[in-house]
């Protein structure tokens, strides 16, 4: 059996992708334009694809025969290790967009670092996923600039979205024992380095969007350790209902 830290780290990646995808899927049939609707649904499917690959890898590393479905549908809230940022409600279009953008900048750089890690399985998935997420980031950054530098109303709304969600961004960079173990034992991402790159990149885009970067403040944390906000339970209830009621049900 592989190192526990690597398994836990892979599950965090999987949970991030799955929980974000689930939030995005909620927007299907609720987007303001048909083209945006298609884009969002495609992106959600990209994330579900990534979650599947990470879960399958985690099951393989763990060696106890757990499948991607077992991880997705048969674990409880406290066993999920996704970032708090990703389980936050969609709110309006701008709220969801800012959440996407702030995460995707982080995720692109996390994946980029992972393509160079020493675990071949993880590096391979990262190399596939980074192409998708690079495009997602392009999409969300353009929207941020467009709406931030848009009308007075859209500008104010984007600023409010940014301020609201900012306190969930610190968790991405707070390295715990698992992050450090993967960094040291598998040449994994250096979160402090990524934080600096992230901050530079986000500042540039926020500036171009004529918005203000929120100041230093208290940052929420705990998602990576399984301590979630009240929102995750509802996401899981909806997502897991069928498999819990009819275990093993297939199409």
């Amino acid at each position: 059996m592989k190192d526990q830290a690597l398994i836990a780290y892979t599950l965090r990646l999987a949970d991030n992708a799955l929980v974000l995808a689930q939030r995005m899927v909620e927007l299907v049939a609720a987007e303001p334009e048909l083209e945006e609707e298609l884009a969002n649904a495609n992106f959600a499917l990209d994330y579900i694809g990534q979650a599947r690959m990470f879960y399958t890898l985690a099951g393989h590393l763990e060696g106890r025969g757990r499948s991607e479905d077992d991880f997705a549908f048969m674990r409880d809230e406290h066993e999920f290790r996704n970032l708090l940022l990703l389980e936050q409600p969609n709110g309006h279009f701008g709220d969801a967009l800012v959440r996407q953008y702030l995460f995707e900048v982080f995720y692109v750089h996390q994946l980029e670092a992972l393509t160079r890690c020493s675990d071949a399985g993880l590096a391979e998935i990262a190399a596939r996923a980074i192409k998708e997420v690079t495009y997602h980031r392009r999409h969300s950054s353009q929207w941020l600039i467009r709406l931030g530098d848009g009308t007075e109303l859209s500008h104010d709304r984007m600023q409010a979205s940014l301020n609201d969600v900012w306190r969930y961004t610190g968790e991405m960079f707070s390295a715990d024992a698992i992050d450090k173990a993967v960094q040291e034992d598998y040449s994994g991402p250096d979160l402090e380095e990524i934080r600096q790159i992230w901050l530079r990149e986000v500042s540039t885009t926020v500036d171009e969007a004529t918005l203000e970067l929120p100041g230093d403040q208290w940052m929420a944390g705990g998602g990576k350790q399984g301590k979630h906000s009240e929102h995750l339970g509802f996401i899981l209830a909806e997502m897991q209902y069928l498999q819990r009621s009819f275990p093993g049900a297939t199409w």
């Binding site: 048909l34 083209e35 298609l38 884009a39 495609n42």
Partner: protein, 95 residues
Amino acid sequence: MSKQEWPLYEVFIRSKSGLSHRHAGSVHAADDQMALDNARDTYTRRSEGVSLWVVRSDLIIASDPAETSAFFEPAEDKIYRHPTFYEIPDGVDNL
């Protein structure tokens, strides 16, 4: 509240290197970059292309359907413009 439609863009896709771009359809978008993204997300999901063009539909200069007869019909009875009057010599297989 009045809802103003985004401008329409025509989408052209080149399916593989060497072929020319072909018209695939159209998308709505608020600006050029968004048009390119929307075209990508709407028309290339199943790896249809390696290159995309988008152009504002109102920038295309189109022939007038009312002028179809003046535009195109004069060519119809000029069969001598088609290369159908040549004998192909024996031995030329790949023409």
